[in-house]
Amino acid sequence: MTVIPLGVPRRLLEFTLDGEPVRAPEGSTILDACRAAGKDVPTLCEGDTLTPKNACRVCVVEVEGARTLVPACSRKAEPGMEVRTDTERARHSRKIVLELLASSVDLSTTPKVAGWLKEYEAKPDRFGPDAARLNEEPKVDNELYVRDYDKCILCYKCVDACGDQWQNTFAISVAGRGFDARIAVEHDAPLTDSACVYCGNCIEVCPTGALSFKSEFDMRAAGTWDESAQTETTTVCAYCGVGCNLTLHVQDNEIVKVTSPHDNPVTHGNLCIKGRFGYQHVQNRD
């Protein structure tokens, strides 16, 4: 039996979205309301299981009376609010933010971003060939996962997932500041010397591929990673009695990575080291 959590009934509030009256449950964000109304507002740092830090600023919209644009992912809808999602002003900010990001980090493994760059006519190259980039070498210091900060947009999702929102391990945080800010473990040590417990929940939430399975990283380097050839099978983890759901990503009859369904009411996408990484025995065929 599938448990469908209903939650507490919520009142509906009314406000205006791009000139149309809409109703949204109390407590929903502008982004929730946009999605319910079938509007596509792009976002990178928002995720379905964490409170967004609203750091990427891609989802900004115009709210009548507000001096600046507001992030749709975090701003709660209020009765009587007048929101416009697609004005010249909002589109301009989104375009510049996408240009700034794409000119400083590698977004090649970020889903959907190529389409947005095209839609907003972003030209990241116009900052010139000398524009500062992160230019970091991938950190490969263990056999389970790789940190490739050249792809990191500092969305804080891995920090929140490792910290008090999910895992409560607090192994990573943001160090330094400004353009030099980086996700780091204590003393910027190798992962193996840190508090990391290798649950991989940070990989689960990373929106850009800055954190990835070592298996995926190696296959991409070898040119053999092919998502179109992969199947996804959701099953139950056999290690203990909790019954977490695992989604096995299989290519050429080999498990290449493991994720977990976010809509599972027990785990919300969380796994432990065994569920996430302990799959080698399945494919040990000797």
Binding site: R57, G178, A181
Partner: protein
């Protein structure tokens, strides 16, 4: 949480520095010495909420280590984390956020040489080159080029900090190579700083309201303060009651002097009315805006007035605890404030029963550690709480959820000090000063190409030209920066702009926090604009994309056009405008939103790069 600590051990000196702040560990579970465990330790447990609530001691703890040793080692940081139950990764993130801390080994003495606007105009580049030639590798001094040290009236400025027990500091301003080197090598024997009154050219003028006591009273003596009208405002506050005080402040028309110009009475009322308890009061003394030094001069010249004003603000808004966040670069202000708090506690002017009126109030000083962003009110809360000084999203606003998630009123030093005349002279008399919409006296920090730089007090409504005439502006004035690095430039033919909030707004500029920097035609404008761009790139916290990357892209564009004008610069200027517009619209906080103001005004009003 199940914290993981590496095997790096603190030295005895590092342990002593932390223990001097927190007291000795109650059990070896709190310390690093598991091998010395006793039977009692095996039946000892503490943690949970009680431990987590000490998180706000992280910043003082980092200061304790940095002050004693000069830098923060892995062992020292881990020991502090054990004592406070803070995850080492988070503490590392905090330690690396602040410019005054180092997590790499460095010499015990650090010499900060200011390279910001006023100092740059006064020859900081030559000073740096001279000092670096004298104090190279092996000199035992780490020379660092620093953002504004808040000593603009005595530019160029140097600040030496020598780690030890106790930490020694010396300020040299105006600095020469000789004097800066002496301050770094022998801070104890460096020449004494001139008294604060030297920064107030009008000192002794009986018509002064806010600066009236600077240079007149002994800043270390409570008796002298009381002999000069001190604590009459607090007595009047107790007569009026909290609601009465808020009514007076509202009627006076006082608005915040930190730059945002929000009505003070409304802020106090909104906080006082919150049902959630406790309420907190925060005094923002983290002025780090290049060109701003009024908080320092007020505190150094008349520290008790700030203590009295905070007591009144706390009483009116229902707070029993005031947090005074002082920027880390102000050692003399810190000493004088600590002395003032101790004297007030000893005399019943702070504590469980202020003036015998049954009202409990005390003030705690928090030292910043070199981060301009911590002047943003919500970033300041995070800094006090022991987190990275990153701004929070608003709403919720601080009056509802501020420091430690509780209703909080935050005011700048100058705003608070204005409350004293509001109460002593009464709201109508106070409101009669200045103009209809900008009431009261205003402090201006004048520096740059003037004969008498310093803090000036004028009623709102005086013109920019009058202020510059008073400070002896030099011939060949090229531009005036109004409102600091986040403000804007105006031309020499615009000196009739009235110095009021509405007047500057009508003129398309801002009064900001009251900075007035004059630049004559010997100052290369492109170099100045580049310095402003560098400042914002250095000081961006890095949380949101428009500010983190935008400030870098702007600085790059300014580098490209530093020596170009006209058509050759047009493409990059268009780029600057596009990026600037998105930063203003989409950044989380005021730093990113205003970072482009000064450069834009230089292009539009001064015709830079034409």
């Amino acid at each position: 949480m199940d914290l993981h600590f590496g095997d790096s051990k603190p030295t005895d000196e590092e342990k002593a520095a932390v223990d001097a702040l927190l007291g000795p560990p109650e059990s070896s579970w709190e310390g690093a010495a598991r091998d010395e465990m006793t039977a009692a330790d095996l039946r000892w447990a503490r943690g949970g909420r009680e431990a987590r609530e000490r998180r706000d001691l992280l910043l003082p703890g980092l200061h304790a280590i940095n002050d004693r040793i000069g830098w923060i080692s892995e062992g020292a940081l881990d020991y502090l984390c054990r004592r406070l139950t803070v995850p080492p990764a988070e503490a590392y993130g905090v330690a690396t956020f602040y410019a005054m801390f180092s997590v790499e080994p460095r010499p015990a003495t650090v010499l900060h040489l200011c390279t910001d606007l006023a100092c740059a105009a006064a020859g900081a580049a030559d000073l740096c080159a001279g000092v670096e030639a004298r104090l190279g590798l092996g000199s035992g001094v780490s020379v660092r080029r620093s953002p504004c040290l808040g000593l603009c009236e005595r530019a160029p400025a140097a600040l030496a900090i020598k780690a030890g027990d106790p930490v020694r500091t010396a300020v040299s301003a105006p600095a020469t190579v000789e004097r800066a080197v002496l301050a770094a090598s022998a801070p104890d024997s460096a020449e004494e700083e001139p008294p604060a009154a030297m920064a107030v050219p009008q000192a002794g003028d009986p018509s002064l309201t806010l600066l009236g006591r600077v240079g007149v009273v002994d800043p270390s003596s409570l008796d002298d303060y009381r002999a000069h009208g001190g604590y009459t405002a607090l007595r009047r506050a107790f007569e009026l009651g909290p609601a009465g005080v808020i009514r007076e402040v509202t009627d006076s028309g006082l608005v915040g002097r930190g730059g945002a110009a929000f009505p003070t009475g409304r802020k106090w009322q909104a906080t006082a009315a919150q049902p959630d308890r406790p309420h907190h009061l925060v005094c923002n003394a983290d002025e780090s805006e290049p060109g701003t030094f009024k908080d320092r001069v007020l505190i150094e010249g008349d520290p008790f007035s700030l203590v009295e004003a905070m007591t009144i603000a706390g009483y009116a808004t229902g707070a029993h605890r005031g947090h005074l966040y002082l920027r880390g670069e102000y050692p003399r202000a810190l000493r004088l404030l600590e002395n003032a708090l101790a004297q007030c506690r000893a005399r019943g002017l702070l504590g469980d029963d202020v003036l015998g009126q049954g009202y409990a109030f005390d003030i705690e000083i928090r030292r910043g550690a070199g981060a301009y962003i911590c002047g943003e009110e919500t970033a300041l809360f995070n800094s006090i709480e022991g987190y990275r000084g990153e701004p929070r999203s608003k709403p919720p606003f601080p009056v509802e959820k501020g420091l430690f998630g509780k209703p909080t009123v935050e005011n700048n030093v100058e705003t608070l000090v204005n409350v004293l005349p509001v109460l002593t002279m009464g709201a109508p008399a106070y409101a009669a000063i200045g103009t209809d919409r900008s009431t009261g006296p205003k402090l201006f920090c004048v520096s740059g190409s003037v004969e008498r730089p310093g803090i000036y007090e004028l009623p709102f409504g005086a013109t920019l030209g009058e202020l510059l005439a008073l400070s002896g502006v030099r011939d060949g004035l090229r531009a005036v920066l109004l409102g600091g690095a986040a403000g804007g430039f105006v031309r020499p033919d615009e000196l009739d702009i009235p110095l009021t909030f509405e007047g500057t707004r009508e003129a398309g500029t801002t009064l900001g926090s009251g900075v007035v920097m004059a630049f004559d035609d010997t100052v290369p404008l492109p170099r100045l604009l580049l310095r402003i761009a560098e400042f914002f790139r250095d000081e961006s916290c890095g949380q949101c994309v428009p500010c983190r990357v935008g400030t870098v892209r702007q600085e790059e564009a300014l580098h490209r056009i530093a020596e170009r004008t006209g058509a050759a610069a047009a493409g990059d200027i268009a780029l600057l405008r596009e990026v600037g517009r998105a930063m203003r619209d989409a950044s989380i906080c005021g730093l990113g939103q205003t970072a482009w103001n000064a450069v834009e005004s230089a292009i539009d009003r001064l015709g830079a790069y034409e």
